[in-house]
């Protein structure tokens, strides 16, 4: 299933670029091949396949061999470049995901268990506020505070030579963790799933025999929703990473995607999109594995 989806991903990416008015091929030749005749001659000379599906198949074949082509801008091979920076993005998104969960889970648990007390109400409003902040503006606030309060210029690039301190790592993580716009949704989803499970009859049985309801509701009320939310929010975090990496000059995939989009560096942006999709699919795979481990019924469905 995952492989089939990635095939679809590659196809979508290809189709978008194939349909684009500024053909990737023309971009490669830049202004040198303005006329159709020159372009056609160049294509023949480079033995570029003519029809769209042969183009797709040859491109796909190269991808499967690990060859995403070379970046137009730098001339370096795309795959190794993307993998090099994707590690940084994985750090950033994983850290932010943890940050989001650390914040959201207690609020969700409290309000699922105790209903909306004034404290929970305050926290819930807080999550709504946080989810509505434009993330880069929030980033600027954090940078401003860090410069004026701590006297540290928090951009990753400024200290890349001597390695990152925890400060340079934590600020973007906090900003993306808080400002990715999903906290209120995470809280809401977790709270509803937990409340639903607390109302299940087997929880009543557990209470009737004097057992802990946390133990009995853990799998369905906590583990499954959490993996579900992690898997489904990875795309949002990767999207948010594009902005946050830009704000903090974080040398990651998002920043590279931005540069690629600006310079119309087609091979690069294609490679990034495919790698991002792979990361998303890996998240879903993890969710699936947990689901099957927890609930053997799921494997049969």
């Amino acid at each position: 299933m995952a492989a089939l989806l990635l095939l679809g991903v590659s196809f979508v990416v290809f189709i978008i670029l194939f349909l684009s008015p500024g053909n990737p091929f023309n971009a490669l030749l830049k202004e040198q091949a303005a006329t159709g005749a020159v372009s056609d001659a160049a294509k023949r000379g480079l033995s570029v396949p003519s029809s769209w599906y042969t183009q797709y198949l040859s491109w796909l074949g190269n991808i499967l061999k690990g060859d995403f082509g070379n970046s137009i801008q730098t001339g370096l091979p795309v795959l190794s470049e993307v993998i090099r920076v994707s590690i940084n993005t994985v750090y950033l998104t994983a850290g932010s995901m943890i940050m989001t969960l650390v914040l959201a889970v207690p609020i969700a648990v409290l309000s699922a268990r105790r209903g909306l007390t004034p404290t929970n109400w305050f926290f819930t409003i807080f999550t709504y506020v946080v989810s509505a902040i434009p993330v880069f503006w929030f980033g600027y606030i954090v940078i401003y505070i860090s410069i004026h309060q701590f006297g540290v210029f928090p951009l990753a690039s400024s200290s890349s030579s001597q390695g990152w301190s925890w400060f340079h790592f934590m600020l973007p993580v906090i900003v993306l963790g808080l400002g990715n716009g999903t906290i209120s949704e995470v809280v809401r989803y977790l709270r509803e799933e937990m409340s639903r499970v607390f109302a299940e009859e087997y929880i009543l049985t557990a209470r009737a025999k004097g057992a802990s309801i946390w133990k009995h509701s853990f799998k369905e009320g906590f583990l499954l929703p959490i993996t579900e939310i992690i898997a489904s929010k990875i795309p949002f975090l990767l999207g948010g990473a594009v902005v946050v990496e830009q704000v903090f000059s974080w040398p990651g995939m998002g920043r590279m995607a931005w540069q690629a989009a600006q310079y119309r560096d087609y091979p690069l942006i294609m490679g990034i999109t495919v790698v991002a999709a792979i990361i998303v699919r890996m998240g879903s795979l993890m969710q699936r594995v947990v689901q099957i481990m927890v609930n053997p019924r799921a494997s049969r469905e």
Binding site: R114, T117, Y202, L204, T205, R207, A208, K209, N295, R297
Partner: protein, 367 residues
Amino acid sequence: MSNGPVLAIENLRTYFFSRSKQAFIRSVDGVTLHIEKGKTLGIVGESGSGKSVTALSTMGLISAEPGVIIGKIGLKTETVQKNLLRDLKDHVKINMSTGRIMSVYKDSLGWQKKINRLMKGIRGKEIAMIFQNPKLSMNPFSSIGKQIAESILLNTSISNRNEAKDKAIYWLEQVKMDSPRLRYYNNPYGLSGGMCQRAMIAMALSSEPSLLIADEPTTGLDATIQSKIVDLLAHLKTSFGVTTMLISHDIDVIKSLSDNVAVMYGGTVLEHGPARTILTSDYKYKHPYTAALLSSIPSQEHIREKKKLQVIEGDVLDTINIPDGCRFFERCNKVTDKIKEQCEHTEPDLREVFPGHKVRCFRFFRT
């Protein structure tokens, strides 16, 4: 042998507040009943008569939403003797004005905490409960054996996992589960409803409770499996002698399993007495409602002679607007002109008309 009842409920009232109606739904409204040690009390009544809520109130499992539980639930066993509703009133404030309840403030958290503290060591240990709908009542993410073993570890003196497992298998054998060693590892979804109910019963018995509450244990099962479960319960009753509160709307189940019976209607007990006499059709001194209930069940005689079944006219009582008089007055077909006035305006109390037999009906009151 018996020194007082194991469970004595006095004037239990469990009200839920309905936001939309701005009124109380009086699900349980003045229930008084008691269960002697080693005996089975059957509670029978139509759906909505407050049977399950009585059971859940006893277990302290009513959720903390706006609502009131008042009265007295006395539990007296070899180790424990206390009122399960002690001090709960402190957490509820009711604002009354001109006879209507204007607002209810309930410290749900405190209430919940208090009831959990009160019930600690009682839920499971002293009172165990079997629920309706066995498939939904077992944790689907854990094997039935583990769930039974958990109950054993929590509620009995056994604290060794292997011992608990052996004990769980023993109980699975006791409830006549086939190949209990294999079933130990089965998850509930792999079992039939009847199997799950057996496992539920095993789990309830495994904690060796002083009182077993069985809430509609046969409802939702196929007819053949129902009778098997009834047989099993009868067998367990004779071999272990557990004090049981058996709730069912099925009079046949009650008849075959219980020593005493409490007939509930509109949130209150209309009749309380020995099952054998009350639930026989030729016994004259029973509440009109009980009589009507009995005659609405097809007996062999009915089927043979193709007689028409008698139905109880009217609807189940609206538990928001409970009338002043007898709750069954509107549907009663045995009102005589002599007591009609009385029936309509004053509610009869639950009075002992024969030794051990209490009825809430003016027809039997001699004064």
